[in-house]
């Protein structure tokens, strides 16, 4: 019995190894100290970046300049290192302070508009024009309504968002903050800071809020 089990395990793990394609050698590991390798220090990297990009349309080379949050989040080895604890807390506080809550006291707009914004991935590329309304890119990463099958999975599912969480003042405020600046709650969140970076305006955020929280929204059906 034991031998059989062993054999099966070996065969199974072999199969798993084959299907996972782990015959490939592991790529070179990142240095543990947070550096990038001797040839990829700041001077060489900056030279490459400055000579390798050009402004096109609205996407100018200005965009390559990082703010302190982007800089921190660009090194996976050191984001959560102890020496960066103070910096993380400071930056998280700054991101939190950037959140502007609704000026007119209205938190929820029109969920139908919100759905359009969630669907649209347009905006701010070099092929987009200045002054056009940006999309929210939401479906790229989240499931939202049940009807839309083409949704991404980088972020959590938001289907039944309001139904599951209710619409207490706390939930509403939290949700607004998350859309406005996701890095206020999670410093290196992968979600764009839609409000803080001026991607979406206050009305658009209100409409997205309605999509998530309005009981009439298909999200909560």
């Amino acid at each position: 019995m034991m031998t059989f089990k062993k054999k099966t395990t070996v065969v199974l793990s072999l199969l798993a190894a084959m299907t996972a394609g782990s015959v490939l050698a592991a790529p070179p590991a990142l240095p543990k100290d947070g550096s990038w390798g001797s040839g990829a220090g700041d001077a060489n990297f900056d030279t490459m970046m400055q000579s390798g990009f050009q402004s096109k349309g609205i996407a100018t080379t200005e965009r390559l300049k990082q703010d302190p949050t982007q800089k921190l989040c660009s090194n996976p080895t050191t984001i959560y290192s102890a020496k960066n604890t103070a910096l993380r807390e400071k930056l998280q506080g700054e991101n939190e302070a950037s959140i502007k809550y609704p000026s007119n006291g209205n938190w929820l707009g029109n969920w139908k508009n919100g759905e359009k914004i969630a669907q649209s991935g347009k905006g701010l590329t070099w092929s987009d024009k200045a002054g056009e309304a940006n999309g929210g890119n939401c479906y790229n990463c989240h499931q939202i309504t049940k009807e839309e099958l083409a949704y991404g999975t980088i972020g959590p599912s938001l289907y039944n968002y309001g139904k599951l969480r209710g619409n207490s003042e706390e939930t509403i405020r939290y949700t607004w903050g998350k859309i406005f600046n996701a890095k206020a709650t999670n410093i290196c969140s992968l979600m764009p800071r839609a409000g803080a970076m001026g991607v979406l305006n206050e009305d658009q955020i209100r409409d997205l809020m309605a999509l998530l929280l309005d009981p009439e929204s298909p999200v909560n059906k």
Binding site: Q119, G121, E147, A150
Partner: protein, 157 residues
């Protein structure tokens, strides 16, 4: 990135549809050149029954002997692979129709007796639609239908 649309945004739908060239203008832009064989009326007909009429198919009956081999979902409407298989004896013609395209008829194949009645091709679909395979066999017409969903791809920029 490409033909990304929202089902709620009409402007975008139109834009995407025009990207595929499938807005409801029909084939009015087709230069009218005379062709001996090409069935202009059938390719310009709107809707299923008009197309059937133009093909002389009348009201074809459903047949379980026709198979449509295609994925349930197409990642892009610009290229939808479809294989039409007929097990009906004496199959002489196979056509592929997309109900919601501006002109339903996409392609028609006349087969000689030597051809195995199994044709693969690729068609454009402007939106999620029923796809019908129409088979002419022994002078009679038969159909089978399958829905193919057309989804959105890319990041939608």
């Amino acid at each position: 990135m490409n033909t990304n649309t929202t089902r709620f945004d009409r402007r975008q739908i139109l834009k995407a549809a025009s990207g595929l060239g499938l807005v409801a203008l029909g084939t009015s832009m087709v230069p009218s050149m005379a062709f001996a064989a090409w069935n202009k009326a059938a390719f310009e007909a709107k809707g299923m029954s008009d197309t059937y009429n133009a093909l002389g198919a009348g009201s074809p009956s459903n047949s379980n002997d026709i198979q449509i081999v295609a994925s349930d979902i197409a990642e892009n409407g610009a290229v939808v692979p479809v294989t039409a298989v007929s097990k009906i004896p004496n199959t002489e013609q196979i056509s592929i129709l997309v109900e919601k395209n501006p002109s339903a008829l996409a392609a028609l194949f006349d087969l000689t007796a030597d051809v195995v009645p199994e044709i693969t091709t690729r068609i454009k679909m402007g939106q999620t639609s029923n796809v019908t395979v129409l088979v002419k066999a022994g002078g009679k017409y038969y159909t089978a239908t399958k829905e193919i969903k057309v989804t959105l791809g890319g990041c939608g920029g």
